[in-house]
Symmetry: C2
Subunit: 472 residues, 2 copies
């Protein structure tokens, strides 16, 4: 696959929007390019309209006054053969077919139409992304398929068979202060397929972490080879959907994919060392560990937070996720006792930072470094059980913020990886209070998880990665 092709995909000098619409100019395909800072030339195409905003609109692709690097198809499926022919005539290099209603419908006629369009493109030397896909999000180049994605540029890339999956993932990630280099939603993949993009990302200097949502691989061997090429230098986190019997049927009617058996995919993950996740939330959680956490030397975790039954449950949760919660050394316990004077406080591990949120700040200043120096643990999870108070504690937001500030001040002095957990529950006030502290911690570079389970799973999977892509 030539590097030049991908230069044109991510840095097109000219983009045609076929089926440009006058409604919704801010958030439509044209408006997004304009507002997202795309610096090339945009050619809207629509025979019924003479201009879109300040841009001249062309009746057909053939009427565009220069060759076109990228044409985005935003038109009904039945019109795609004609448009593709126009694209061939005008020297289009890449066609992104956003349009759905092809082989994914399971209907013979629709599949034939898809094959027909693909053949026109192939014969005319046009490379195709799609159909039935969202295309490219590349904030550094001003390309996006949704106006709501972050403009910030990061180092995470994604190759995805699902546009809705990409949309959810990008928002979940952005909310965790995770930003992207390149996302490609490739849909039915009549031409360019996951391995093409993965091979490119393996060598892409702007990409440090690769994520992938996949339902089925057309050429399993090639998909595996491309993943292994990536894994030589960067972590690859994959959500393989359609692994259950019902899920495989759902995948077939979504992208016409053969989902493959769970056993085959188990072998794939074992052999490649790619990290398997079960949900987009978990994918965002694992990526956050790669980006914001030191690499743990082992799987033994020190838990700092509300004790009692909450601490016992937290311990079970960590161990079920694959971590261990060994007792601190006796010296450590003695030192911790000195900074946790309340009766009934446990210091063995978990250590109870404080009964109330109000006491957490003080513990972070005095107790966290004690835990950090204990050789029995490799990493620290600290949780503030905001949900315990059901949003009804007086000045919860202020006390929580004090705790977050103390944690942000102490964290840089720690030698071991740290994850913070702020469990908000379903209460609006708890969630609001949590949100402010969460933002503060994320800005300070501390990964924040919504539950101990999420943190423990992410650490386990981060730790399981085969020595690649760790933070320096």
């Amino acid at each position: 696959m030539s590097q030049g092709l991908f230069d044109q995909i991510f840095h097109p000098a000219t983009v045609a929007i076929v089926g440009a619409s006058t409604n919704d100019p801010e958030t439509g395909w044209v408006g997004r390019l304009v507002n997202f800072g795309y610096r090339g030339r945009i050619y809207p195409v629509n025979p019924k309209v003479s201009e879109i905003g300040i841009l001249k609109c062309y009746p057909t692709v053939r009427d565009i006054p220069e060759p076109v690097d990228l044409a985005i198809f935003n038109i009904p499926a039945r019109l795609t053969p004609q448009i593709m022919q126009d694209c061939v005539a005008r020297g289009v290099r890449i066609a992104h077919i956003f349009t759905a209603g092809f082989s994914e419908t399971g209907k013979e006629e629709a599949s034939k139409l898809e094959a027909h369009v693909a053949e026109i493109a192939r014969a005319g030397n046009i490379r195709v992304i799609g159909p039935n896909c969202m295309g490219v999000y590349y904030p550094a180049g001003g390309l996006t398929f949704l106006h709501t994605f972050a403009r910030e540029v990061g180092t995470v890339s994604m190759v995805t068979q699902s546009g809705a999956g990409a949309t959810r993932f990008i928002h979940l990630a952005n909310d965790r202060h995770i930003y992207f280099s390149k996302v490609v939603s490739y849909g039915n993949a009549v031409d360019l397929d996951a391995p093409d993009f993965l091979e490119y990302l393996a060598e892409d200097s702007e990409t440090a972490v690769i994520t992938c949502y996949i339902e089925g691989a057309r050429d399993c061997r090639r998909f595996m080879a491309s993943v292994m090429k990536c894994l030589q230098c960067k972590p690859v986190i994959i959500l393989k959907a359609g692994l259950t019997e019902s899920g495989a049927h759902a995948a077939a009617s979504h992208t016409a994919s053969l989902a493959g058996s769970a056993m085959v995919w188990d072998g794939f993950f074992r052999q490649t060392g790619a990290i398997q996740v079960d949900s987009l939330e978990e994918m965002a959680d694992v990526v956050m560990a790669f980006l914001k956490m030191k690499s743990p030397g082992g799987r033994r975790v020190g838990i700092v937070g509300r004790g009692g039954g909450i601490g016992v449950i937290a311990t079970d949760v960590c161990e079920r996720a694959g971590l261990k919660v060994p007792p601190f050394l006796p010296e450590t316990q003695k030192q911790l006792e000195a900074v946790t004077p309340e009766a009934g406080i446990t210091v063995r591990n978990p250590v109870e930072s404080a009964r109330e949120i109000a006491g957490a700040a003080d513990f972070y200043k005095r107790g966290l470094k004690i835990v950090d120096t204990d050789p029995q643990v490799d990493c620290i999870i600290t949780h503030i059980a905001v949900d315990i108070y059901g949003g009804r504690q007086q000045d919860m937001q202020g006390e929580l913020l004090k705790a977050a500030e103390a944690l942000a001040v102490t964290a840089p002095a720690l030698t071991k990886p740290l994850a913070a957990v702020l469990s908000a529950g379903e209460h609006l006030e708890t969630f609001s209070a949590t949100h402010q502290s969460r933002e503060l911690l994320l800005k300070a570079g501390i990964p924040v998880y919504p539950s101990i389970e999420a943190a423990a799973r992410a650490i386990y999977k981060f730790r399981s990665a085969r020595g690649i892509g760790k933070n320096p």
Copy 2:
């Protein structure tokens, strides 16, 4: 165990608060009773104070002018023997020892002190709740251990070895519009223990669903018998903490419990038919199914919501939780196609209600009954993937509310159990938008879950219950 004892626990005519404090009169032990609507006589005890609010304060329990049904110990552990002797002298019937610092510390001296206090009580005919526990929450009688709990009266009861666990659970439940009959946090259980309370709740006409947090049972056979007694007429949902190796150690340093092996407890759950949950969130989710859902005739679920990759993941999640997602009948699919005109929409199961939140209301009005009549499914999960929009969609709150209203209007006409899922993600605006619709749905009696996983697990466990406690 005599019924009279529990009458005094839940309907004490007189309560002494030993160690009543002048600080925090609203939220302290005295203030809580006053503000929560307790209608008996309250006797604050504190030698340093002459009154608490408008109440006369007594120097010792002996000075109280009448016999006392319930004395709450809010004093340092070392003072408890003296106070217990005072209680014997004054004819106290039940002592709730809130005080911690006894056998749960693992220290020999503290254990001796606990045994000593217990012996004074036993000899003096006083029954003890605790020590190291929160005691009783009984909103119908104005008893509570936290001022933030709901005043509303419900039919759920809880027996719990963890006060913090109870606190989190009650708030999580209240946020789901679940209300309580009786909660007892019993701590180290030197006298009254889980089986005593469970036997009582088995026959309690105010209790329809029983929940239990337990770390270890002192007398396993008796615990099992009490659970089986309950299960004759009501569901019992149990969170057994300390099931992992590290968790068992944590339990030992929390309540000095012998946690017991996972194998023994597996046998316990299989033999009794009690429902096992792994977290307090899951406990609240399962209780919500019992209270707000029709009983499913089987495990086949129809999924209504965002399709594409989101639908494939949802399908996997349901099947991993033990449900099945079979295809709808061809007739059903045809009918659904007629009400979902967009290209690329899947109707096989999952059925895509709409791409945007805006379309969901219309689908609920026209499509939900079609799904309901399909004999291939036993229950319906409908999810609105609010988090897909990352809080940035225009008028999300309004569109979501329209969808919720349509769902609330349609739901009563459905013959099959229904669960709604509103996934808010970590974004403040998404969460706020979700919150309003969630409240509307809960008020309409529709159970609302934060994720498809939570809904699927709850339905699976609800369905697994052995034919008891189902809604009529």
